[in-house]
Amino acid sequence: MSADALVSQLKQGLDAPICLTWEITYACNLQCVHCLSSSGVRDPRELSTAQAKAVLDELRDLQVFYINIGGGEPMIRKDFFEILEHAEHNNIGVKFSTNGTYIDAENAKRLAEMNYLDVQISIDGTDAATNDAVRGAGSFAVALRAMNHLRDANFGPFKISVVVTRHNVDQLDQFKALADSYGAQLRITRLRPSGRGVDSWNELHPTQAQQRQIYNWLLAHGDNVLTGDSFFHLNALGESLPGLNMCGAGRVVCLIDPIGDVYACPFVIHDQFKAGSIFDEGGFTSVWRDSKLFLSLREPESAGACTSCGNYDSCQGGCMAAKFFTGLPLDGPDPECVIGAGEALLQSTRISLIPKPAMDHSRSVRLNAPTSVSVR
């Protein structure tokens, strides 16, 4: 079977996801401006420890070999290590994403002692100014401290995860050098206009010239850098980047959110892309195999407005989430379409028609106490 034939098989869906993302809490100590899940405060409906373990048991039975745990900040949960250990005992590999706040010397040691575990520290700049503008004051120093603890605990090759923006795209070489200096692996992913990204995407997303810069950088370094195959829209620029050239939403990946709702991917937390809940009859397995949404995502997609474009086979029309949260039709060009078809459409999109994320767990902005001013 050729690679193309395999991709067409994968598009028809698998009996279980290859890799799913499980966000275990909406609570987060940071308020990153591009947070794809608008995290901040815990949701009172979040899964209990017993419910969380039952999710892992079901994934074990489905032979889901590994999962991505995220949040929010997953380490905020008091039962975080209990959940990790349950996954480990059930032979489910875990990679978890963290901002590093709770990786002190002791926790780093504990993580290093576990098998079958990857840790991914998020940063969005190679200096505090660039990083903290997106992730909040002090967050760069905190991430570096966590990396130092992991190195000192001999954790081994952890991952450093970067969302590529207009402001850090020039630092790709420096990110790679930073990762190399820790013996870590660099992962770069595409910025999506999801969650709080709905409001920050316009300011943060790479320009057309920068898209080409990312593409060329990945052609040169892609074999040693992880991308979650998230840049396939750039394939229209020429030679294909490494990885599966397809959207995996509902086909090979999905998201289980902190309250047990199942979405097509981590970037589409919206009712239109909610397939069901792990609490539905038949559990996650039925949602994955039989939900109307997932079955429809496994049907051959229409190229729509892109039909006449010779690049469609290369770029596959780009990212569903990127289109949805910029108000573009799903069967048309990606907002970052490299030949500019998306940009033209964005100009004519009415802001009032742009969908809002289903939930917002952002912390409310605390205003300073009014200062009394005495005037003579």
């Binding site: 079977m1 395999l6 028809q12 009996d15 290859i18 032979q63 070999f65 032979n91 079958y116």
Partner: protein
């Protein structure tokens, strides 16, 4: 490249690598290696059947006979099992 394994032939006694799990899928199976964490697609159901039962047969040829694989296709199976040996899905016991 490391030189490690003995070349696979029709006379080899093989087995599924003990750290590998097979998950059936419509196109064949996913093989997951818990040691190197690599995911490999087995894209032919008959290759999956042969791989799964390798350990129960004295030689690869016996496994092919048991799975009803026609002799004309044996060379391609030797190639396929060799490739799976280099990705550590299969090993010579």
């Amino acid at each position: 490249m490391t030189v490690n394994a003995t070349a696979v032939t029709l006379d080899s006694a093989c087995e599924l690598h003990p750290q590998v799990a097979l998950r059936p899928e419509p196109f064949g199976a996913l093989a997951y290696h818990y040691g190197n964490r690599k995911l490999i697609f087995l894209k032919h159901p008959d290759v999956v059947a042969v791989v799964r039962d390798l350990a129960q047969h004295a030689t690869l040829a016996d496994a092919l006979i048991a799975s009803g694989v026609h002799r004309d296709r044996w060379p391609s199976f030797v190639t396929a099992i060799s490739a799976l040996q280099s990705s550590e899905v299969v090993r010579v016991r």
